[in-house]
C-alpha cells in the first residue's frame, strides 16, 4: 500500500488518544537519551509496542548521505535475519526514493515486489517503511515488520509517520551530538555530558512548574556562563510573547513587558522556529524591541523556539553582557532545555484546564439533592479518571409543589471548561422553565429554543421527567439521551422507551413526543449518562445488558443502587468519560403511609431499613423509636424472606402507617408461618416483642401477616 502524499489525512488534526500517548512516549525517549545507540534502542522499543509489530529497524544515511546503513534492530536474533527481513536495505532504498510510507504484505514466495526473492529468512510476512526526514533532508528509514500477514492500514501509516517525524528530529540531534563529541577533547566531552545530565536529570520532573522552570534557567545560565535567561510564552492571540520565567538581568525587567511575534529577536525565533544567535547587538540588522536588549546591557543573545506537538508555545533565550559567539553545541543544549521546559508547561496547562473544568462542574451540580417526602433520591457525579475528559454531565431535582417533582439528567457534547460552562447554562435554564410550570414536552421545546440561541456549537442530550406522587404517574421526554430504567420489585428492570425527540441544539423541526408510565410504590427510576454504558471495544448491546442485570441484582434502595451499578459497570471510577447518575424511588407515601413491595431476598433487608428509617423520621419518630421499630420490622421481614420458597421472584409487602402517636407496620408474605425453630427464631421473636408494644401474627392458607405497633415518644 502506498498512499499518495496529497491524500493523507492530516495527522495533527485527528490524533486519536492512543497516538497522542505514543507520541508522548517517543518524545520522552527523545529527551531522555543523548547517546545515539541508546536513543535508537529506546525509540525502537517504544515503536514496536505502539505499532504492535514483531520487529523494527532504523537505517541511517552514511556520511555522504548516499547509502542507507542498518544501524539498530529490535525483535530479531541474527544479523542475517535482520538483513533479510526487517532491516532489508533494498526495501529501505525504495522507501527513500518514494519519499512516503511503503507497505507490503504476504512476502512468502513473492518476487513481484521488485525486490527480488528475499523471502523467509527472517520469517516475516509483512513490512512497512517510512522515511526519516528533518527539514527536507533524509536522515534514514524506519521499518517495521510482522511475522503474521498484516495489511498496514492508513491509520497505521499515519501513526508510523508521526512517530518517524519525532524520531528523525531526535536522531538528527543525537548524530550532531555524536559528531561533535568525536571532534572534542575528552575533558570537554566529560563536561558537556555533565551539563546535559544537569538539565535532563529526571528528579527535576518532581518539581512544580515554577520551580522547574526556575531550576532549568539557573542551570542553563550556569552551564553557558550567561548573564541572563528568559522564557517568553506566546499569548492567546498568538501575536505577542509574554514573560513566564526570568533569571539574571532579565529579572529586573519585571513581568509586564510584551514582545510582538515576527519582529525583534525573540519574535524572529518564534517566526522562524529555529535557533537565532546575535553576536553583537550593536551591529545587527535585526530590529530590537525587548527593553533589556534596547538598553544595551546585553551584547550577545542566543534564542531557541519552544514547540509542543508542532505548535509554537514560546521562546527561550540566554544573553551575555560581553560579546560572545555561541556555538552549535550551545544551541543544541539550549534547545534541549527548551524542549524540556515546553513539555512541562504543556503538561501543566492541560492539568490546569482539567482542574478548572472539575471545579466548575462541582460548583454547578447540587451537592445535596433536596429531601422530598415520599421519594428517596440519590445522585452521583463521577468524573473521568483521564485528564481533560471532565465536564458536561448534569442532574437536577426540582420540587414543583402539588405533590409533583421534576427530575432531569443531561450530557453536553464536548469536554473541558466549555462543556462544563454550557452545562451550567442548560441546567439553570431547565430548572427555571420547570418551576414556571408546564408539561415535560413544553419545557423541552423551550429548552431547545434556548440552546439554539446559544450558538452553533451548543449541543446536549437530556431526559426530563415529572413524577406525580398522588398517583405514581411519571411523564417524561427524551432528547436523544440513553433510555432511563424503570426497576420494579415485581418484574425487574426495563428500559423506558416511547418518548422521542431530538438532542438540544439540533436545528430540526421535530416535536418532543412525551411518554407516560406508572412508577408504583417501591419501584425505582434510574437516569444515567452514556459514560456509564459506552466503553471502547465493547458492544453497546452487551453493556446495556450488563446494566440491566446489575440493576436487577441491586437492592431496592437508591444509594445502594447507584453504588452497585457504578461498581459493576465502572469498577469504581469511569475512565473515558464522566458519568452522572440519578436514582429515584417512589416510597409509596405522600402523607402518612408507607407501602413497599419487596423482593424476598436477604440483601433487601438493608434497603427496607433505609426506607422505613426515612419514613419514620419524616413522621416525627425519635432516634430510639426509629431504631426499635426498624429492628422489629427487620425481624419480621427476615421471617418473610425465609418463608419464600423456590425461585427468587417472590415478593412480600410492607405497609406502615401512624395515627394518634402510634406507628403500626404490617409485613405480609404468601408463605406459611413456621413455629420457632431453635434458639435463633426464638431470638427474633424475643426482639420483636422487646422493642414493640404489641405484636400480632396471623397465619393462614394464603400467607402470614405480622403486625407490630409502638407508641412514639419518651418511655419510662
Amino acid at each position: 500500500m502506498n498512499l499518495p502524499p496529497g491524500n493523507r489525512p492530516d495527522a495533527a488534526s485527528r490524533e486519536p488518544p492512543l497516538l497522542a500517548e505514543g507520541l508522548q512516549s517517543v518524545t520522552e525517549a527523545a529527551l531522555a537519551h543523548l547517546d545515539l545507540d541508546d536513543l535508537l534502542s529506546a525509540l525502537l522499543e517504544r515503536i514496536r509496542g505502539i505499532m504492535s509489530v514483531d520487529a523494527a529497524a532504523i537505517l541511517l544515511t552514511d556520511e555522504d548521505g548516499e547509502a542507507l546503513v542498518p544501524r539498530a534492530v529490535r525483535g530479531v536474533d541474527t544479523i542475517e535475519e535482520a538483513l533479510g527481513g526487517v532491516a532489508r536495505i533494498e526495501f529501505a532504498r525504495q522507501v527513500a526514493t518514494t519519499g512516503g510510507a511503503v507497505g507490503i504484505e504476504g512476502l512468502r514466495g513473492s518476487s513481484s515486489d521488485g525486490l527480488g526473492t528475499w523471502v523467509g529468512e527472517g520469517g516475516i510476512r509483512s513490512l512497512c517503511g517510512v522515511p526519516l526526514v528533518v527539514e527536507g533532508r533524509l536522515v534514514g528509514v524506519l521499518q517495521v515488520a510482522t511475522v503474521a500477514r498484516r495489511e498496514f492500514s492508513a491509520e497505521d501509516t499515519l501513526v508510523l509517520e508521526a512517530l518517524a517525524e519525532r524520531a528523525a528530529v531526535a536522531i538528527d540531534r543525537a548524530r550532531l551530538h555524536e559528531s561533535e563529541h568525536a571532534a572534542r577533547s575528552a575533558a570537554e566531552m566529560a563536561l558537556q555530558l555533565e551539563n546535559l545530565q544537569e538539565v535532563t536529570e529526571s528528579s527535576l520532573a518532581y518539581l512544580d512548574i515554577d520551580d522547574l522552570l526556575g531550576a532549568l534557567l539557573e542551570r542553563i545560565t550556569g552551564i553557558l556562563s550567561a548573564d541572563t535567561a528568559a522564557i517568553l510564552l506566546t499569548e492567546e492571540d498568538g501575536e505577542t510573547l509574554a514573560p513566564r520565567a526570568l533569571r539574571g538581568l532579565d529579572e529586573e525587567l519585571g513581568e509586564d513587558f510584551r514582545v510582538p511575534v515576527g519582529i525583534g529577536f525573540s519574535g524572529r525565533v518564534a517566526a522562524t522556529r529555529g535557533a537565532v544567535a546575535i553576536e553583537d547587538l550593536d551591529r545587527t540588522p535585526i530590529e530590537v524591541t525587548n527593553p533589556l536588549l534596547l538598553e544595551r546591557r546585553v551584547r550577545s543573545v542566543l534564542g531557541v523556539p519552544m514547540v509542543v506537538e508542532g505548535r509554537l508555545i514560546g521562546v527561550l533565550y540566554v544573553g551575555t553582557a560581553l560579546p560572545r559567539r555561541f556555538s552549535a553545541s550551545d544551541a543544541y543544549l539550549l534547545q534541549l532545555v527548551a524542549d524540556r521546559a515546553a513539555l512541562a508547561i504543556e503538561r501543566d496547562r492541560l492539568g490546569e484546564q482539567d482542574r478548572i473544568a472539575r471545579t466548575l462542574q462541582r460548583s454547578i451540580l447540587p451537592t445535596e439533592v433536596p429531601k422530598i417526602p415520599g421519594v428517596a433520591i440519590a445522585a452521583r457525579y463521577l468524573p473521568a479518571a483521564t485528564q481533560a475528559a471532565v465536564g458536561g454531565d448534569w442532574y437536577d431535582v426540582i420540587p414543583l409543589g402539588d405533590g409533583k417533582v421534576g427530575f432531569a439528567i443531561g450530557d453536553v457534547v464536548g469536554r473541558g471548561v466549555q462543556a462544563a460552562a454550557l452545562m451550567g447554562q442548560l441546567r439553570t435554564a431547565l430548572h427555571a422553565y420547570a418551576i414556571e410550570g408546564g408539561a415535560p414536552a413544553d419545557i423541552a421545546a423551550r429548552l431547545a429554543r434556548f440552546t439554539e440561541s446559544l450558538g452553533e456549537d451548543a449541543m446536549a442530550t437530556f431526559v426530563y421527567a415529572i413524577l406525580d406522587l398522588d398517583n405514581g404517574l411519571l411523564e417524561f421526554v427524551n432528547g436523544g439521551h440513553p433510555s432511563p430504567l424503570l426497576i420494579s420489585p415485581d418484574s425487574g428492570p426495563r428500559h423506558l422507551d416511547g418518548a422521542s425527540g431530538p438532542p438540544l441544539g439540533v436545528r430540526i423541526e421535530v416535536p418532543f413526543e412525551p411518554a407516560e408510565t406508572a412508577l408504583p410504590p417501591g419501584s425505582m427510576l434510574f437516569l444515567y449518562t452514556d459514560g456509564l454504558v459506552e466503553r471502547r471495544g465493547e458492544r453497546l448491546d452487551d453493556r446495556d445488558a450488563a446494566l440491566t442485570s446489575a440493576a436487577a441484582a441491586a437492592p431496592f434502595d437508591v444509594d445502594l443502587l447507584c453504588d452497585a451499578v457504578s461498581d459493576e459497570m465502572l469498577e469504581g471510577a469511569p475512565t473515558g468519560d464522566d458519568v452522572a447518575l440519578l436514582a429515584v424511588q417512589n416510597l409509596g407515601y405522600h402523607q402518612d403511609r408507607l407501602e413497599l413491595t419487596v423482593p424476598a431476598r436477604v440483601r433487601e433487608l438493608a434497603a427496607v431499613r433505609r426506607s422505613l428509617r426515612r419514613w419514620l423520621l419524616a413522621a416525627g419518630a425519635t432516634e430510639d423509636d426509629v431504631s426499635a421499630i426498624v429492628l422489629a420490622c427487620n425481624e419480621a421481614c427476615a421471617n418473610a424472606i425465609e418463608h419464600a420458597y423456590g425461585p427468587g421472584d417472590a415478593t412480600f409487602e410492607l405497609h406502615a402507617g401512624h395515627r394518634d402517636g402510634v406507628v403500626s407496620v404490617t409485613v405480609s408474605d404468601s408463605g406459611s408461618w413456621r413455629a420457632s425453630r431453635g434458639e435463633n427464631r426464638g431470638r427474633g421473636m424475643l426482639l420483636m416483642r422487646a422493642f414493640t408494644d404489641d405484636l400480632e401474627i396471623r397465619s393462614g392458607e394464603t400467607g402470614t401477616t405480622v403486625t407490630i405497633r409502638r407508641g412514639l415518644g419518651e418511655r419510662p
Binding site: 453504588d563 433487608l605 438493608a606 431499613r609 426498624v630 429492628l631 427476615a638 424472606i641 434458639e679 435463633n680
Partner: protein
C-alpha cells in the same frame, strides 16, 4: 463481606481484635462468622469483637456471636464482645441475654485485659 459492614482486624497485640463497623444482618452474618473464625488461632487465648462502631445488629448477628463463642469454646478459646453502654447494640445484646454465654465489656481495654 458486602458493603454494609467493614472489618478491621488488629493483630498487633497479644489478643486479636476485630472491629466491626456498619450494619450486620442476615445478608452478611455468614461472611462475618467466617472472618471472625479466621482471625484467631489456637496460639491465642481468645478473640475480641469490638461492636463500638456497629450501627445495626439483628438476630442473625446475635446468632453468629453465639455460634462463634461455641466454636471457640470447643477450641478452649474465649470470645469477648465490646459494646458501648446505652447503645442500641447493647440493648439488643441485653434482650437476647448474650452476656450469659459471652463476656460483654463496655471498653476495649477491659476486654483485652480479660484475655491476657
Amino acid at each position: 463481606m458486602s458493603g454494609l459492614a467493614a472489618l478491621e482486624v488488629d493483630h498487633s497485640g497479644e489478643v486479636p481484635v476485630v472491629r466491626v463497623s456498619g450494619e450486620v444482618d442476615a445478608s452478611n452474618a455468614d461472611d462475618l462468622r467466617d472472618a471472625l473464625l479466621r482471625a484467631v488461632s489456637n496460639q491465642h487465648r481468645g478473640l475480641v469483637v469490638d461492636l463500638s462502631e456497629t450501627s445495626y445488629l439483628d438476630s442473625a448477628g446475635i446468632q453468629l456471636l453465639f455460634d462463634v463463642a461455641e466454636r471457640l469454646r470447643v477450641r478452649q478459646l474465649e470470645l469477648r464482645v465490646v459494646a458501648l453502654p446505652e447503645s442500641f447494640v447493647a440493648d439488643v445484646l441485653r434482650v437476647t441475654r448474650l452476656e450469659q454465654r459471652v463476656g460483654v465489656d463496655s471498653r476495649l481495654g477491659e476486654a483485652v485485659n480479660a484475655l491476657r
